[in-house]
Symmetry: C2
């Protein structure tokens, strides 16, 4: 990890081109015409830069500039369709807007979230998007102190603008779909069980509300024990269901594709009655429609969420309610 070969600087190029460092700098950053550098010198410098494998030192450059054009993002995971898409599209959209994206993955660890946020601010990010953060307000507070804009995505915070899915409506729709299919396929009408997530997390709470309201409307009452929001991992949802051996028709509302992994495992290992189970999942996966018993999935509208988030960048912080983005219900 040592560089025997020191990196080429504008001073090296200046010597080679027999020009001043400032001339070289203006050639390389595109301001040479404004600074009345001759095309001849500009060409010479550009050729030398190419030859020498010159790459600007961002550290030095940003130190002097007033703007960094860096936008930071933290996400809980990459290896997940939803968050992976968010990170990917965020990078693409930032580049398309002439900004420099820096994304980092924080594994749903509150401390790592905070450390990573500080790190991004250290890199002079001008705006930080906290995606699915456990404690977004702590991050926003630090951003405020540093004069950095902060925006919440996926999970809302109280002290910075938030762009999130319309979890309640989508959960109602998904619940209705599952109930309809249970009725149609199994001649059974609930109540459904709710699997996965954490009740302390805003999205799970909103989804649970939609889940309950949709059933209340049909005068179905859901026993407390039917709500199994014991965490996000596949293992946790599998554990929550382990003891459950349905002796008749059953329906499940699964709170994420991660929990879904546990659910399908449980489902596939049922000794009997597997065909009497119907479920739907909040979050979409390309292979979801092939899972037996799966009647539909909610696809969150990542593109619209990010467009809204980018609209907020640079705007004065108006702290209204979270901006709700409608989801798409994918029916199988």
């Amino acid at each position: 990890m040592e560089n025997e070969t020191k990196r080429t600087t504008i001073y090296d190029l200046a010597k080679l081109a027999d020009a001043s460092p400032s001339a070289v700098s203006s050639v390389l950053n595109g301001t040479w015409e404004k600074r009345r550098i001759s095309k001849k010198l500009a060409d010479r410098v550009m050729r030398l830069a190419e030859e020498q494998g010159y790459a600007v030192n961002v550290q030095a450059s940003l130190l002097r500039r007033e703007r960094s054009d860096i936008v930071g993002m933290i996400v809980p995971k990459y290896a997940n369709r939803y968050f992976g898409d968010i990170a990917e599209q965020f990078e693409a959209m930032a580049r398309a807007r002439g900004l420099f994206p820096v994304v980092t993955c924080t594994q749903r660890d509150p401390d790592l979230e905070f450390e990573a946020a500080k790190e991004l601010i250290s890199y002079q990010a001008e705006c930080l998007i906290s995606t699915g953060a456990t404690d977004p307000d702590r991050i926003s507070a630090f951003c405020d102190a540093s004069g950095v804009q902060s925006i919440n995505l996926d999970l809302p915070g109280k002290t910075a603008p938030s762009v999130i899915s319309d979890n309640y409506s989508a959960a109602r729709d998904l619940t209705d779909l599952i109930l309809d299919r249970c009725e149609r396929d199994l001649g059974w009408s609930g109540p459904l069980r709710f699997v996965g997530g954490r009740l302390t997390d805003h999205n799970t709470a909103a989804r649970l509300e939609g889940f309950l309201d949709a059933q209340r409307e049909r005068t179905i009452s859901v026993p407390d024990t039917y709500v199994m929001a014991t965490g996000y991992s596949a293992q946790k949802s599998a554990n929550a269901l382990a003891a459950f051996k349905p002796d008749g028709p059953t329906g499940l509302f699964v709170n994420s594709t991660i929990s879904l992994e546990g659910v399908v495992k449980w489902h596939s290992e049922l000794a009997s009655g597997a065909d009497q189970v119907r479920y739907g999942c909040f979050d979409w996966d390309p292979f979801g429609s092939f899972l037996p018993g799966n009647v539909g999935m909610v696809e969150q509208d990542v593109t619209s969420m990010l467009i809204k988030a980018f609209e907020l960048i640079g705007k004065p912080t108006s702290l209204n309610e979270p901006i709700l983005i409608p989801c798409k219900l994918r029916i199988f």
Copy 2:
């Protein structure tokens, strides 16, 4: 995106603490004991830094330091189990080693790959890992010119050390598995079809070789038209298969989970004979075992690959053959 509130610097803290900037600096970067700063002053500075929401300016800090401890990585995608895992584990392992990971996603676009690589070098990355890069040697050449170490992951290059999966062996094993299942379930013995990927890409070529050798060993000869390596997207593999209406038993070797999306779409839309199809896929997905007809998947050993890659960091570049990491065959 403007900071009305200028960021706090060590000079601000120095004034507040009634100390010199150099004392403040050494307190904040942990060298204060070595520099014989009193604990009293150190505590005062730390408290002020906390209060003021101080975050070091990485730009200024790195400009002066000789080492950045930054390791860069480019990956084609995040929203994919394999690459998502790579990015996630890379970040975690880098942090565990006291390094600063910076990852960026390049969408399999050769120009973006190169631009992103330059960008990471501009950030003073001391080592750059090119994952699944279309033209890794171009990137390595630039790294060499800049005195930056480069390492290839997933796809090999000729001018930098490479850590890749043992594609050939895993493809042989997977082919054997598919053939065995075709024999057992359908009483049919090939030849199989190969779907997805690009032949110009090293991994596809190695997998095809394993695919062909496994069949050659059983004296099965594969017609050229059975090799449908027309690209990576789901759409492309679906298109390649569109015209194929099997009139008897069939087996497919699917070259990636992305191609698999196209294959399952084709399979699910078959008018008849869907139960006469068996396939296996190179790359693993948690829902893969629930896809009808899927007999097994190859899981690449991301952790081992990254461990090897990290072992190479800082080592003098020894240019041997690519380091091959065995895969795990997941049998359904």
